[in-house]
Symmetry: none
Subunit: 414 residues, 2 copies
């Protein structure tokens, strides 16, 4: 028994979109212990989809399709599956009602095109789509298992979690699971961390593997086990050892983001935060408020893109701006202090930098960023980062916001 992931969409073949669905599903199949040997991509073409189904049925027993469930004529997945198996399509009343309701809740009317999304092969179960209009199917046919999902990643993921996983578990999968803890680090490079934990890379069970991306290093500690509890027992001693070795450079595991970790620390201490942003333009505030319930500790902020706003709303000194420039330690500190005072919070963060690609000089190159942190005790700290011009505007802004949160995290940890 093995699964094959089949993504349908001419836009993938044209290179318009990155096929991230396959990676998500691959990870999920591994978690359930379902072997998976092949992935295929094919365009919106009936004959070619038929040929792909034929090949996949010869070598795989679980076929997982994504894409091609939309309302337009080029969306062919369900039709292609039904016609390959020479099965009649039947209209599902519940799907029609659901689509009608979704249109109504957005003040629109269901179009004639959408009726085709309610057609499913006779004998198949509906795999409901909470957010979009395209439901999938779960179909046991000729000893094979067929699942379809829309191509929109957020819809596919929710449907996978809510319905496909319970369904696959009911079929006996997921008894032996691959379980892992992804430990996450900031402020240390991949090779430095690797040197510190080198003795763990040769372990057979659990295994330890490093990953790096965008200023963050990760170590994945994995094992196979009958249950999550059993797996945790195998993983925990090694994960603990790594956390002790890494100290404050370890900031969280799995879904823990910096914003979540900082938010939890603020909540524990009953403290509040405000932010003053220049080069990040609101990105730090957006990161902080990405966390549900962040209004408990986040009061607000000032996007101080112009010098006037820095002076008028944050009390940055005109003299210091003229002498040191907007991108300087003293301005970052005054922004942090100013926003903390104006918003009456325990903590204030200031960020000022040159995101590029223009605006750099020899002494202040693109990628130079200053971060200020102000506390209720009246103390203020600043940090200088240089990300280099080659990182690009997006990464300079993203990494600045991350680093600001990381510096606050270290202050909160004491």
């Amino acid at each position: 028994m093995n699964a094959e992931i089949i993504c349908i969409g001419t836009e993938i073949l044209l290179g318009d979109i990155l096929n991230s669905n396959s990676q998500y599903l691959a990870l999920e199949l591994a978690r359930l212990g379902i072997p998976h040997y092949y992935q295929t991509v094919v365009g919106d073409n009936l004959n070619r989809i038929h040929s792909i189904i034929k090949t996949a049925l010869e070598r795989s027993s679980i076929l997982i399709f994504t894409g091609g469930l939309g309302p337009t004529p080029d969306d062919l997945t369900t039709e292609a599956i039904a016609s390959y198996f020479q099965t009649t399509m039947v209209e599902d009343r519940e799907i029609i009602e659901d689509i009608k309701q979704k249109f109504a809740s957005r003040g629109r009317e269901m179009t004639a095109n959408n009726y085709k999304q309610a057609l499913i092969p006779q004998g198949a179960l509906v795999l409901p789509n909470k957010t979009g209009t395209a439901p999938g199917i779960m179909w046991e046919k000729d000893s094979k298992l067929i699942l379809t999902f829309p191509g929109v990643p957020s819809e596919m993921k929710q449907m996978w979690q809510d319905t496909a996983i319970p369904f696959l578990k009911s079929k006996g999968w997921g008894k032996e699971i691959i379980y892992s803890e992804m430990l996450r680090f900031r402020g240390i490079g991949e090779s430095s961390l690797a040197q510190k934990v080198n003795h763990l890379f040769d372990l057979a069970n659990p295994t330890v593997a490093p990953y790096a991306s965008h200023g963050e290093v990760r170590l994945r500690v994995s094992t196979k086990a009958q249950s999550a509890e059993e797996a945790k027992k195998i993983i925990q001693p090694i994960a603990e050892e790594i956390k002790i070795i890494a100290g404050q450079d370890y900031f969280g595991s799995d879904e823990d983001t910096l914003a979540l970790v900082v938010g939890n620390l603020l909540k524990q201490r009953g403290e509040t935060l405000a932010v003053a942003e220049s080069c990040t333009g609101g990105g730090l505030g957006a990161m902080v408020t990405d966390i549900e319930g962040s209004s408990e500790y986040f009061v607000g902020g000032v996007i101080a893109y112009s010098n006037e706003v820095k002076m008028n709303l944050l009390g940055v000194s005109e003299d210091d701006l003229a002498r040191e420039g907007a991108v300087s330690a003293i301005v970052a500190e005054q922004m942090a202090r100013g926003v903390r005072q104006r918003f009456g919070t325990d903590w204030g963060i200031g960020i000022t930098g040159i995101a590029g690609p223009g605006g750099g000089t020899e002494s202040k190159p693109v990628g130079l960023v200053y971060i200020g942190i102000a506390s209720a005790t009246g103390e203020v700290w600043s940090y200088r980062d240089t990300y280099g011009s080659s990182r690009g505007r997006y990464l300079v802004r993203y990494l600045s916001a991350c680093n600001a949160l990381d510096q606050l995290r270290r202050k909160l940890l004491g």
Copy 2:
């Protein structure tokens, strides 16, 4: 004649890495006008690679492999290709010299493992790798064309550009290119737009195909031609027809984002913008400042997460807040007007809503968002959107910011 992209690597099947090589090669094939109908991923397993080669040869005439060219025993690509065609492998002296030199320049000695990287099928040409130790091959065999590349994206890309493109052009490719314009729309659903342009979906040249994602609908108008100029001539009349049909719902093409389009309109008019954000928490400001040079028209903003900030910094009326609630048309309008006045800009945007998942009530459910737009003439408008609780916090925030920009865009267009 059509190409198939075959990626070899168990790490892709485990979900450890995202298959970005396929997207890169897909775009490059489109540029050269090489049709491409299938992509396949398979693990490091000789039998399964053989079965993939067999299937690919039946349906494709150019096989492009990435991955599996390393020095370790699990790297099987070249060996699998040679054994499939029952062709002897021969040691290439130049490759050995090249690998030796690369090791020497790093102060190391070539390992025994690396000799295997110098083995290529008899009759194949070497596709040299400037940076890494893994060369590829270019092989014309049985009227098929076989190319192999390492899985490391930077090495693959350089080899593609330096050697594969000239080789493919020498075989007659690249004379005809696939060219397209991606038209982008907001404020209209995929099925409604499809109904309006339904008569264009059957065109043979150019072709028109719809895509939808996250509140945006796209129509791709594509053609094959000898040059970009010729392609534009074929595409333009249809693209123009669609733009006229869609009116202001069309906002831009290809890389045009809402933030870029709004920024360009503001620049043309010499006008400025400030934003006041509650539920988006800085996300709108981040979107606006994502555009290089946005300081020309963007002055800054207030992240007004708490009611106190709405009152103290933006002048929102305490009475209205108490009577109508923070998520109301009047508060959105006052936020827009308040931030415009305080920052002295031509335009002000206010956003207030319930991003969820908590905080919703029967009369004000999760996903309810009000947008206010204030202009220098003293006028102020507001818009009510309901995204539904099922969209999730991320999408409610993202779509609110997009819609705010879209409403401003429509005002700027008049």
